[in-house]
């Protein structure tokens, strides 16, 4: 099994994001991590290869120089090597990202499966995996919580709201967008972290891929901090008095009851 896993380098979800200029943020002030959904993707890929006793897991990242730390984290989880497409700038449109991922993967080998996450937690795009699939003419299912592979077919399950579960089938090679529930990502142990430092990491400049960048793109015009709500108005009195007061406010003032 030749498996590629698309992994994005993103600010920690708990990090404070300070907006800088019109459409940027201070990325030197926050901790970066592997996109949490991509951890499920890496774990699934590594488990598949471990179980089969053969095959290879290759991490592919389109990102800045600093993304190496995220790639090493994925390698510490068991990925064998990495391909780093280097870009400058904080945001890259998802169409261009998918074209870069496609070019990097195709230059490297022939995938049986490509794993991605369900979305990146920075730009919350929910679409790169679909664009990659369309560009490579592969089937794709995202938000996958269960995966079985039989005879060159992938049987996957996803949740579609209200607790409803859908089972879908597609032929390999295919693209699978992982989400919580698919597995429990491992915490790498110290020796694994050390070993990961020595694993092969290929670097390619985005510009070297020779992509057609005249495609339709989204453009980030503005980034604004969302003000937090201020402190709550706290109810007073006995439990009954507090609840009565709350119900009155919600009914009369906010008209939400």
């Amino acid at each position: 099994m030749q498996i590629y896993v698309c992994v994005k380098h993103v600010p920690d979800t708990a990090a404070t994001i300070t907006v800088v200029g019109e459409a940027g943020y201070n990325d030197t002030a926050c901790k970066f991590i592997i996109n949490p959904y991509d951890e499920y993707a890496v774990e699934e890929a590594v488990q598949r290869v471990e179980k089969a006793g053969s095959g290879e897991v290759v991490v592919v990242t389109v990102g800045p120089e600093a993304a190496v730390s995220t790639m090493r984290a994925a390698m510490a989880m068991g990925a064998h090597r990495g391909i780093h497409v280097k870009v400058e700038g904080q945001f890259l449109d998802s169409t261009l990202t998918s074209l870069a991922l496609k070019a990097a993967i195709e230059q490297d080998g022939t995938p049986n499966i490509i794993f991605t996450g369900r979305n990146a937690v920075d730009t919350e795009g929910f679409q790169t995996q679909y664009r990659l699939a369309a560009a490579m003419n592969l089937p794709v299912v995202s938000e996958v919580v269960n995966l079985e592979i039989n005879d060159g077919q992938a049987i996957v399950q996803r949740e579609v709201g209200g607790g409803t579960r859908e089972t879908l089938e597609m032929k390999l090679p295919c693209i699978i967008g992982a989400t919580k529930g698919l597995n429990e990502p491992r915490y790498p142990k110290f020796p694994d972290i050390m070993k990961a430092k020595k694993k092969e990491l290929k670097e390619i400049d985005f510009d070297q891929l020779g992509l057609d960048t005249s495609v339709d793109q989204t453009e980030l015009l503005k980034l604004e901090a969302v003000p937090e709500r201020s402190s709550a108005q706290i109810m007073q009195g006995s439990v009954r008095e507090q609840v009565n007061e709350l119900v009155r406010i919600l009914t009369e003032k906010d008209k939400v009851l």
Partner: protein, 320 residues
């Protein structure tokens, strides 16, 4: 005036009420003409409800000799064909699990820009507003394609009635390629439970709920509130609730008019999924719990005491 389509989502042959906000958004205060596109349900039965919010044309999209529910790829392709047939300048829908999937397929197939999970849309300058960084920032994004594709966060835009003269049509889309992905089975969830993303009111129990059966207390209260019941990740991970009930970064993103959080500390990741609620209430034993710093109303107290009183008061009021 632009002609804008709205992809209508249905559940058990009923139009989901979260579609109405999407119609309101598409109508843009009467500046646009709205074409509602339905699949797999009878458009006649939906006419009255959709026209009440301003849909002028209600179209049942079918594909000859194929079952549209059998493949999400087929649905995306049928939509692509319908967009062309009706000369739509944009297609709006919901960023529900299904909507996110269909819109992403459609945009990739047509090579058109897309923004998913939007909370605002401006047709004049083709920009949308959406969350970046787990709700900590709002991005304004320009969609540069001619066709405007946008999936809206359910309930982010309030529905407004705007009765329209409407006409019902049926359109047989032509789809040449078979879908690459095939639906084998759909297992319905607990039908008694309301879908979180659809709910106007949500009451959530966090880690201190302590046992699956204790959600009954919240369910009783939810019934009177017309609410859905949610859970935090800590409660889900402890096995007290299924993942389908989880609200937050790794769970559902919701925007109800009222969100009542019981026993929630107020983590960034939980707030990422419910911050856009209109009014947030917290019930927590700890007066210093971070949630009190970022909600509208608070009750300092034990949820096992407070919630039953709330249920009782609501029951007295509704006379049930």
């Amino acid at each position: 005036m632009a002609k804008i389509g709205v992809f209508i989502e249905t559940d058990k042959d009923e139009v989901k009420k979260t579609n109405f906000g999407a119609i309101t958004a598409a109508l843009d205060g009467g500046k646009n003409e709205v074409v509602a596109l339905l699949m797999g349900v009878d458009a006649n039965s939906a006419q009255e409800t959709l026209a009440a919010y301003g849909a002028q044309k209600i179209v049942q999209v079918t594909v000859d000799s194929a079952d549209l529910t059998a493949s999400p790829d087929l649905q995306a392709r049928a939509l692509a064909d319908a967009i062309q047939h009706f000369a739509l300048e944009g297609l709006i829908g919901l960023a529900s699990a299904r909507g996110r999937d269909v819109f992403a397929r459609l945009s990739a197939f047509l090579n058109v820009t897309l923004a998913s999970d939007c909370v605002g849309i401006n047709f004049e300058d083709k920009t949308v507003r959406k969350s970046h960084f787990s709700g900590k920032t709002i991005a304004t994004i320009k969609l540069n394609s001619d066709l405007l594709l946008c999936a809206l966060r359910p309930n982010a835009i309030e529905a407004q009635k705007a009765l329209a003269d409407s006409q019902v049509e049926s359109y047989a889309a032509s789809v040449d390629a078979p879908g690459l992905v095939k639906v084998l089975e759909v297992k319905k969830g607990d039908t008694a439970k309301m879908d979180l993303t659809e709910a106007d009111v949500i009451i959530t129990g966090g880690r201190p709920i302590d046992a699956a059966e204790n959600y009954k207390m919240l369910e009783e209260c939810a019934e009177l509130l017309g609410a859905a019941v949610g859970a935090s990740r800590a409660a889900v991970d402890a096995g007290f609730a299924p993942h389908s009930m989880q609200v937050g970064q790794t769970g559902k993103t919701v925007s109800p008019r009222l969100y009542i959080g019981c026993g929630l500390s107020g983590s960034v990741q939980h707030f990422a999924g419910m911050k856009t609620s209109k009014v947030i209430v917290a019930i927590n034993t700890d007066k210093d719990a971070p949630i009190f710093q970022k909600c509208d109303y608070g009750i300092i107290g034990d949820m096992f005491e407070v919630v039953p009183v709330l249920t009782e008061i609501l029951r007295e009021q509704t006379g049930q």
